[in-house]
């Protein structure tokens, strides 16, 4: 019987380890595939040039800039709104009916498919508010789409600040706002950064909502205002892989574009890790 028990133990352990390894394997294969396919096409001209001859030659500079602008818009809209709603939910409506309604709304919003957000953006920003097919319509749509992610990670970070610290602050005569501003928010910052990066990365990788709100197949210039149309990296990959005149010939372009997108997102993540570490070191429990 003893042996049997040990055998079970081994089997279960192997199963768990196998699953964990599978994740690593998936990442390695994915990276290897994209790097090997796209590296040869990567060049200064590819990164800084305009696309030529229906995207089959030249660079992807407008797509990089477009995605960068989208990330900036999402950052400046989704983060403040997300953090403020999270504060409201944790600090003001923790146990009330209102709070529960908010929580449920956030969870449900998180489950809505991105194409539906695209339709929402088309209806509200493009048509109703008259922003047209533009950077701002797409950026606002992506901001709404990433809000639930931003709110729930900020909410968790804020709720994880020990209540004993809040008590200490109140007991010294701090008001609720002072307690939030001096203690809760600073201590929750590492978690908020994580949510911020996750949200922006997610927005950077989305394709479907962009198609309904203003992404262009090919532009020889950069968007000159919020109301201009734009190119974006993920849509560029999609377009080149499905619609281009010669799918096989442009394959390196597809890989290289995917690689740039990946590097952009990984770079953001790295930045977030550095920021998070700095703040963690500053406030050590």
């Amino acid at each position: 019987m003893m042996l049997n028990r040990r055998a079970t133990e081994m089997a279960v352990f192997t199963l768990f380890r196998g699953c964990a390894l599978l994740v690593v394997l998936a990442l390695v294969v994915l990276l290897g595939y994209i790097v090997s396919g796209g590296l040869e096409r990567l060049s200064v001209e590819f990164l800084t040039g305009m696309p030529r001859r229906a995207n089959t030659e030249g660079g992807i500079f407008p797509a990089i800039v477009g995605t960068f602008y989208l990330m900036l818009i999402v950052l400046s809209i989704s983060v403040p709104i997300g953090v403020m709603s999270a504060i409201y939910m944790v600090e003001y409506e923790q146990n009330s009916l209102m709070g529960k309604v908010f929580k449920m709304a956030v969870y449900n919003l998180a489950g809505v498919p991105s194409i539906v957000y695209g339709l929402l953006g088309l209806g509200i920003f493009v048509a109703f508010l008259g922003f047209g097919f533009s950077l701002i319509s797409a950026g606002l749509t992506l901001s709404i789409m990433t809000l639930p992610l931003m709110i729930s990670s900020a909410r968790e970070a804020i709720a994880a600040v020990p209540s004993t610290v809040r008590e200490a602050s109140y007991a010294l005569g701090a008001t609720k706002w002072q307690t939030i501003w001096h203690h809760v928010l600073p201590y929750a910052l590492p978690g908020i950064f994580t949510g911020m990066i996750l949200s922006v990365s997610r927005a950077a990788g989305e394709t479907a909502p962009l198609m309904l709100t203003g992404v262009a197949m090919s532009l020889q210039r950069l968007p000159d205002s919020f109301f201009d149309s734009f190119m974006a990296l993920p849509y560029h990959v999609f377009y080149m892989a499905t619609q281009s005149s010669d799918l096989l010939a442009t394959r390196p372009i597809q890989y290289a574009t995917a690689l740039v997108l990946l590097l952009l997102v990984l770079g953001m993540n790295l930045f977030a890790i550095v920021l998070r570490k700095r703040y963690r070191d500053r406030y050590r429990w």
Binding site: A168, Y170, A171, L172, Y283
Partner: protein, 263 residues
Amino acid sequence: MTIAIRTDDLHVYFDKNHALKGVSMDIEMNQVTAVIGPSGCGKSTFIRCINRMNDLIPGCTVKGKVLVDGMDINDDDVDVVDVRRRIGMVFQKPNPFPKSIYENVAYGPRLHGVVETGNGKGRRRKHTKRELDEIVEHSLRRAALWDEVKDRMDKSGTSLSGGQQQRLCIARTLAVDPEIILFDEPCSALDPIATAKIEDLLVDLKKDYTVVIVTHNMQQAARISDRTAFFYLGDLIEMGDTKQIFERPQKEFTEQYITGRMG
């Protein structure tokens, strides 16, 4: 003796749970008053009424009067911030802010600033760096922590040992210059040596402050307090001089509890 705090028919409800059932008590100035009783008897709830910390608990209702200097702190026109500045509190688990030792102590004074009364009007201004330094040093000295931390004021408060953290919390409370300090089982997370230091400190503090301490440790109450109140199931059973409570309790419940036959 002057009365520092008087409660009159104080009731506390947590939703439907009647946690404190009409407590009327006088707490005298510049004395250590111990509040004892078995777990769940309402002793913490009671002292949290005195600086209105119960306000923070959803579903908590307080009825009755808490008079400090003759003024009911639950009155509508009383500023809760002012109440908590005048009535400090030290908690069960040491809870320093994850900031430097200096910032921990300076936080309270920074919040409130200095009130200057010139030509009849109160004006609020920030402390100068020098004033803050003085308050921090004075408070840390008063909390018997200065010598241990004076060379590492910029280290995090959380890097100290448990007993030092608790003295840091005391210094932080002293820095806002309260009249009354409430201690909610301040030694329950500490070892005997750290506990002894805090006890000495409490006895010393009563010269300048009114001290109320909740403790589940009866020897502690006997050692440091002048008066003792015994709570049981939300009622104040008996209150008197500590010596009398421990040597000649008047109520049977009290006797059973202090002789260890109950609780």
